[in-house]
Amino acid sequence: MNPLAITGLGAACSLGVGSHAFVFDRLRHVAEQGLERATASTTRATGDHTAPRTSFDASRYPGARIREVPEFDPAQTLGDKGLRTLDRLTKLLLVAARNCLHDANIKSPEGWQSFGPDDVGVVCSNAYGSLEAITELDRVAQLEDARYINPAKFPNTVSNSASGYVSIWEDLRALNMSVSDGTCGSLDAVSCADIALATDRASAVLCGGGEAMSEALFIAFEKLGVFRAFDAVAPLGEGAAFMALEDAASAKARGATMLGHIVGYGTAFASEDANHMFFGSERALERAITLALTDANMHAAEIDLVVSSLSGMPTFDDRELAAVERVQGLRAPIVAPKRIFGETLGAGGALAMAATLAWLNGVPVAADLVARASSGAPENGGSIARGSIRRVLVTTLGFYGNASALVVAAPDLAR
């Protein structure tokens, strides 16, 4: 792929809501204070079932832990008009998009600063759609009468609705593409954005993903039993993040701030487990990594950090670590950003990218995010020298045999 410049970032996540400066600052705080202390101050619900939650009433689930966007108030970013019928997923994405557009100086509160409506597109990952909207309307239909479901909320049940609202709210008229590949979706969205930019369908693309916490999502993972496993490492989470992607040369020409460059992508699938749908494929991830490195024209030994999708599910984590191990020459430390953000599914890759950009820009990596210090070293074994991260491999192991990877370079490195 041609290097894609990342010129802006907007996020709504367990750390709060903001642009790249906010995310970088919060991650620096995590590194300085330690994960437990830093996240306790930002995620009030964590570890305390009596604490108020903004996503759903968790009082029926004592001991439940989630990572939600703390005290999420979209009106602070978007104003208080037009929000009444929107679901949480849409609001998360809208807040991330607004922050990203301003961060990239594509728009400001005064209006367009670079490009115009026809030039900017959206590629957005989401894994499970708006369970909140679907279950709410279904409950009305089942317990009252289908004739009473709110037609203004019905569009929220359609999977691409939230992504579509981003274009509507921000007047982005180039393509809008909604992507679903489970936890790999945010990385695959980059591949779709890459083609859109390379074929001149847009001059800039807001690329990322979102997943909203809801009672239905919580129950599903609780029933699957993976939630308890998350307890130790990464609880179920929610969030949204967008990056502004542009052709590197044109981003430079307009004087955009460079946060990093995406230089390689790979994806793969393998159906090696004939008996189970729900499994992680070591082989698929190894191939995705190899494809991404080849795409970036880079050797594994050049990678300084692996930003993984490790989430605390032993069977998946073991396979992800084994896949990285199998890539010859890949000896970089492995970190687990889901310890901060939680398992945010369709938003996972986008939030991993947000953390990646911080670490590529000199923000220290919190020691308690390190799952493997370097090849062969024990878990949580050590710190990573500040400023030493120049090239990052971002990996995602999907739940169904799918896997994707990206190679991201520091702002001053295109290759």
Binding site: N176, L224, G401
Partner: protein, 437 residues
Amino acid sequence: MRVLITGIGVVSSVGLGKDAFFAALTEGKSGISPVESFDTEKLGRQYAGEAKGFRPLDHLSVSETRRMGRCSQMALAAARMAMADAKLGPAHYRGPRTSVVLGTTMGEADVLEVLDHQWIHRGTSGVRRALIPKYGATLLPIHIARAIGSEGAVLTLPAACAAGNYAISVASDLIRAGKADVVITGAAEILQELQYCGFVRLAAMATERCQPFDLNRQGLILGEGAGIMIVESEAHAVRRGAPPPLAEVRGYGMTCDAYHITRPHPDAAGSIRAMRQAIDRSLIGPDDIHFVNAHGTGTRHNDAAEAKVMKEVFGDRRVPISSMKSMLGHCMGAASALEAIGCVMTLQTGVYPPTIGYETPDPECDVDVVANHARSGPHDVVLNNSLAFGGYNSVTCLAKPFLFEPIDPAAWRNCRGATPNAATASQSKATTESGAS
């Protein structure tokens, strides 16, 4: 680089398989009938285009059927038909050079419905754990990839009513970008109660008939089905000795209205831009287009907007236009995939499927509707138009194979202009036929 369609598979309310499907469309046979899969008594609407002839076990094993919801079942069944049609053997689809890219609106909505009803009526403890992993739009391509052993990208594009066109477009890009040799693509959707109720509540649903472009049109009728295509590079088709290709995917247009979540922009600016993109990126001109398959939902806003698009793009030239939704119903995510297959069959046969139920012309829709009876005509190039919730506009351009010069990588990458260029079209005509046989 040419991107060829070498096989197609269909599950629809008017028949299974491409021949039954297109024979029914040509006869103007409607698949719209009273809903059987759920109770519509209180809803004030009773009709839909259900694929009543689809029996999963005719196409899938017992274990496959158990593992997936009805949407994936339809998709896999149609994929198997398409692979047989393309004579695509295991050596040609196993491994990393084959990808699966599918569109849908709601994916496995029936699975979620069951889970949700268990939760509503029996509480959390009543939710069946084993059902949970069967839910998710992500699963559609995964099930196909698992079944056939493909190891390339698996991607779902939930682009609502334009999802089929989105999938075909992304599939063609994967091939042009050199990331895949074969892509199994298309879309699937099932009729589902909540969705049906939602459209009733939006006051978008007609009573018994869908009458696109008619003055007295009342709205849409929902449908279901799956349309799957085998899309492959010319080089791969030649290498494996594929049967003669059915069609060539030329360019596509993709824009967003950024206007309203359910309604098209009244000026249709985004839709016009998408259609012009599709023509320009195909390196042809508007005069090369012989037939347009309309999105044609039968709603007042949609059909009027589409008529504007036709006027803007083609001027005074009245290009025949028709809506298969008058017979299939609106199959949501699967709509533009099934209709793309209808377009492929038009390229093969020269027959334009009719818009049935067309009785009274609407001055606001002053277009050349293929009214009530199929029509024969020139059939070199067709456009498949689709619009969707979220302001999505997507148009694919399909042509007879090898009629025009291949689209070289430079033209594919750098072709943003939206001004029709007839000179380009004439220059683009291939002087000799070549390629797969």
